[in-house]
């Protein structure tokens, strides 16, 4: 090519690049950093969450809308790793917002980073109350806080049997302690008695002796809050010793838990926020259940639902204010001002000034469990404002 020809080519190429660059900017996907537990003790929760998130991809990215892309990073269920990942996403990938953790410790570690560095942080599953303590500005928690679950249980029991005696047995982990704190406070206010209260250290294996002690106290209801497999052991040993299934109220029940409780737990209650057996599943909710079941060989529960819903929430915030796609403050305001519903169940989503959601809970009763899934019936539903109990004082 002659020199002039080269120059002409360069000019043309340059113009083409600028044009492409100009249009490319408008098509650049919005990046959301998704830091979750893909290895480590909570690997199951993180990977399930991502499975739910992926199912939302088609709906939240229809042709014509600016694409939302989730950049997923594993935090190994380690707070230091979560902070590093948050930093990576913030500084290197310059994401619009952070999301992802299912475990409270990783969530709290990221919370510190997010608030300090003014990065919007939408927490899909971690339930720790302190994530929205007064003064929080950038953090939004989708799942009702754990102390609130305790409140809900107390209301449920008070309605079933006023003045009842509840045996409370739990593992010494953050989530369980928060639920217990909420329950104890609310039970006192509702005229219920908590006796006995038994706390297991981490790493416990056997609860038979404690089950015998619970039986001896003759409670009306038993609320077992074990951690991991110990939850299952605890439940089985309570039932072995002679506690009736209808006396057992599990604070939370994801699919694998219910399946492991098995047929023998038919009649027991569990709390949840989304279940394949809910009465009011929307059509989208039903197709979500079917799609998830087809892909993962089990029905989804609230864990996968929240991650699915988080994707929709982010889409809605961006639709509401397209300028928010490139501006963290605008995005934060857009989310804070949302007044919408979960697409899968119709439950309203609104956030208070600290980023806590108006909260709710269902209680289901297990009817049957088989290899593929389980049947449960909705028995109770309650909504409440997060600060109906002094949640930020109860759990520090």
């Amino acid at each position: 090519m002659t020199r002039n020809g080269l120059g002409g080519c360069a000019l043309a190429a340059g113009v083409a690049l600028v044009l492409m660059g100009g249009t490319a900017l408008a098509e650049d996907p919005v990046k959301i950093g998704f830091v979750t537990e893909l290895t480590g003790p909570w690997a199951f929760f993180g990977t399930s969450c991502v499975a739910g998130l992926k199912l939302a991809d088609a709906q939240i990215n229809p042709p014509g809308k600016r694409r939302i892309e989730f950049v997923t990073i594993d935090n190994q269920t380690q707070p230091a790793q979560a902070v590093a990942a948050a930093r990576n996403l913030d500084v290197q990938s310059k994401v619009l917002a952070l999301s992802g953790p299912t475990s409270s410790d990783t969530a709290l570690a990221m919370y510190g980073y997010a608030e300090q560095n003014k990065v919007p942080f939408v927490v899909p599953v971690a339930a720790f109350p302190q994530l929205t303590k007064p003064g929080s500005r950038y953090t939004f928690r989708i799942e009702p806080d754990a102390a609130g679950w305790g409140y809900a249980i107390a209301q449920f029991v008070a309605k079933k049997k006023p003045g009842a005696k509840i045996a409370l047995v739990y593992s010494d982990f953050a989530l369980m302690r928060a639920i217990a704190a909420g329950l104890k406070y609310s039970a006192a206010k509702a005229g219920l008695k908590i006796e006995p209260e038994i706390v297991f250290p981490q790493g416990s294996n056997d609860a038979t002796v404690q089950a015998a002690q619970v039986l001896a106290a003759a409670p009306d209801f038993v609320v077992p809050i074990g951690a991991g497999a110990f939850d299952n052991t605890l439940t089985n040993q309570l039932l072995d010793i002679g506690i009736k299934t209808e006396q057992v109220i599990h604070p939370f029940g994801i699919t694998t838990q219910v399946k492991n409780w098995g047929k023998r737990s038919a009649g027991s209650y569990y709390g949840t926020f989304f279940d394949s057996n809910l009465d009011e599943l929307t059509p989208e909710g039903k197709s979500f259940v079917e799609a998830f079941r087809a892909q993962n060989d089990r029905p989804p529960s609230y864990l996968e639902n929240y991650c699915y819903v988080t994707a929709h929430l982010i889409r809605e915030a961006l639709d509401k204010d397209p300028a928010a796609a490139d501006d963290r403050e605008k995005f934060r305001d857009a989310v804070a001002g949302l007044n919408t519903k979960e697409t899968t169940s119709g439950i309203p989503i609104t956030f208070d000034k600290n980023g806590a959601r108006k909260e709710y809970m269902y209680f289901m009763q297990i009817q049957d469990v088989d290899a593929k899934g389980y049947k449960a019936k909705q028995q109770f539903y309650i909504e409440w404002d997060p600060e109906v109990i002094p949640v930020y004082d109860l759990v520090k």
Binding site: T39, G40, P41, A43, F44, F45, T47, D172, I198, V199, F200, P201, G203, S204, N205, D206, T208, V209, Q210, A211, A212, Q213, L215, A216, G228, A229, F230, D231, N232, T233, N236, D240, I241, G242, I254, T256, Q257, N260, G262
Partner: protein, 293 residues
């Protein structure tokens, strides 16, 4: 005695036996390997977990009867240990301070297994429950006990008895004890020391696998069980005296019972503190362990 008291008493006894036998099994497995080839097996918890998870796969995913699954798992442990011995373990038999090298090696194996579990079992579920070997419930007076648990206790106790008999009366057991005490002297007496090393590695791991399977029958399993078991097994081994099978057995049973008994009167956490405290006290007075050779 009121019914409640009887129930609490019997639950304490059965819990003591159940926890005690399983912990004893694992501790015995660890101590056999440490006593003979001087290997502190940091991966013992992962092997324990591997056995439990594999038994779950065999019985839940493949539909085998739990008893068959158990035998399969313990059977698989033999080639598994044999392979490890050939590839990795035997390289260190003549290395000075091999206990340190072994500790590092087994930590590496722990990481590898953790990584494998993370992307397989860790993703399939957060907890694993085996179907019972035997269904139904037996009543000991007013105290109901799941037949499954009874079966696990019985099998564990029989296994321990068999191990004890093997080591005390069988020719192999005597050779093993000779090697524990002094390998040069044992070699002079015609014992094939390397063969004994191999056998003890396989036996020790087999026992740990058995413990894992029995645990899975008695309790539900999740991935965190591994480390708790490792630490406990080592603790029992030191208190009992490294290399002492009798020590591991007795201390394991005491361990199980102390937990159960103290938790009648105090919270389970105090029970945990109490037996850990007891261990430290014993170490103060008998630093080489209760039954050290």
């Amino acid at each position: 005695m009121s019914n409640s008291t009887i129930i609490i008493a019997l639950s304490t006894i059965t819990t003591g036996i159940m926890l005690g036998t399983i912990f004893s099994l694992v501790a015995v497995g660890v101590t056999i390997v440490y006593g003979s080839i001087w290997m502190p097996n940091a991966a013992n918890g992962q092997f324990f977990l591997l056995a439990a998870l594999f038994a779950w796969s065999a019985s839940v995913s493949w539909g085998l009867h739990p008893a068959v699954a158990a035998l399969l798992v313990i059977g698989i442990s033999v080639p598994f240990s044999w392979l490890l011995e050939i590839l990795l373990v035997r390289r260190f038999y003549d290395v000075p301070n091999r206990n340190i090298s072994y500790f590092v090696l087994t930590l590496g194996i722990t990481q590898v297994l953790t990584g494998i579990f993370s992307v397989t079992y860790g993703v399939w579920s957060d907890q694993f429950q085996l179907p019972p070997i035997v269904k139904g419930v037996t009543f000991l007076g007013p105290f109901p006990i799941a037949n499954n648990r009874l079966a696990a206790m019985l099998i564990a106790a029989l296994l321990l008895a068999a191990l004890f008999a093997l080591l005390r009366y069988h020719r192999y057991g005597r050779a093993l004890r000779a090697v524990f005490q002094n390998r040069e002297a044992a070699a002079l007496r015609g014992v094939d020391v390397r063969a004994i090393y191999r056998m003890s590695f396989i036996l020790g791991n087999g026992v740990i696998f058995a413990g894992g399977v029995l645990f899975a029958f008695a309790y539900a399993v999740d991935l965190t069980v591994a480390w708790t078991m490792s630490v406990t097994a080592f603790a029992i081994m030191i208190i009992g005296g490294p290399g002492s099978v009798v020590g591991a057995l007795i201390v394991g049973m005491v361990f199980g019972f102390t937990q159960a008994i103290v938790s009648i009167f105090a919270s389970p956490t105090i029970a945990a503190f109490s037996y850990l405290g007891a261990m430290l006290v014993i170490l103060l007075f008998r630093p080489s362990g209760l039954f050290a050779r």
